[in-house]
């Protein structure tokens, strides 16, 4: 997905209608496509001295309670942390 270019224009006023094209059951865990990749994988026109974080792309979401426990509803962003072993001394790294 190409990033949307930002703009400074004011959006035209229009009547507020929630965007709901079809009434569907709660769409947790529904993927969009079977082989949906949840991020952009190719960056183009990259410049020097500039940082780039790839855009995420929505494929599926966790259920609300599962998302709450994990800290995000997006499975691709779940990043569990295993704490340091409290009893063992740290291994020596080669400098």
């Amino acid at each position: 997905m190409i990033s949307r270019r930002g703009s400074e224009k004011q959006l035209p006023e229009k009547e507020y209608m929630p965007y709901m094209p079809e009434m569907q059951p709660m769409p947790w865990r529904q993927g969009c496509l079977p082989n949906c990749i949840p991020q952009e994988t190719v960056l183009t026109n990259v410049k020097l001295a500039t940082a780039y974080v790839p855009f995420q792309k929505l494929c599926s979401t966790l259920s609300p309670v599962e998302g709450l426990i994990k800290g995000t509803i997006f499975p691709e962003l779940v990043s569990p942390y295993v704490g340091e072993n409290k009893k063992c001394r740290p291994a020596e790294y080669d400098e």
């Binding site: 997905m1 949307r4 929630p18 965007y19 709901m20 094209p21 569907q24 709660m26 769409p27 969009c32 855009f55 995420q56 929505l58 979401t61 609300p64 309670v65 998302g67 709450l68 426990i69 995000t72 509803i73 997006f74």
Partner: protein, 93 residues
């Protein structure tokens, strides 16, 4: 459907959290129709749960929620109290 206060608060907290995460995604992906649809669906569900909670257990905001007499907003417990919060079963830490 009569859920206990803890169950109701758990589901409301979870759906509101989904809204927060979707809202941040939509801030940087304003043209993602799928995300917008999920956001609006979750918003409707949150509204229903919120109304149900407030009807049974008192106002969640002092800003738009109606209150019985006397003014319920100040009632204990407050969210930083142990008694206010529900247990959330999770993975073993």
């Amino acid at each position: 459907m009569n859920m206990s206060r803890d169950e109701l608060l758990k589901h409301l907290t979870a759906i509101d959290f989904m809204l927060v995460d979707l809202q941040l995604y939509l801030d940087t992906h304003p043209c993602d129709q799928d995300a917008l649809m999920r956001y609006n669906a979750a918003a409707m569900q949150s509204k229903m749960l919120k109304e149900q909670y407030e009807r049974l257990y008192g106002p969640l905001t002092s800003f738009r929620s109606p209150s019985c007499y006397p003014w319920q907003w100040i009632n204990n417990p407050w969210p930083w109290n142990y008694e206010f919060n529900f247990e959330l079963a999770g993975e073993e830490c």
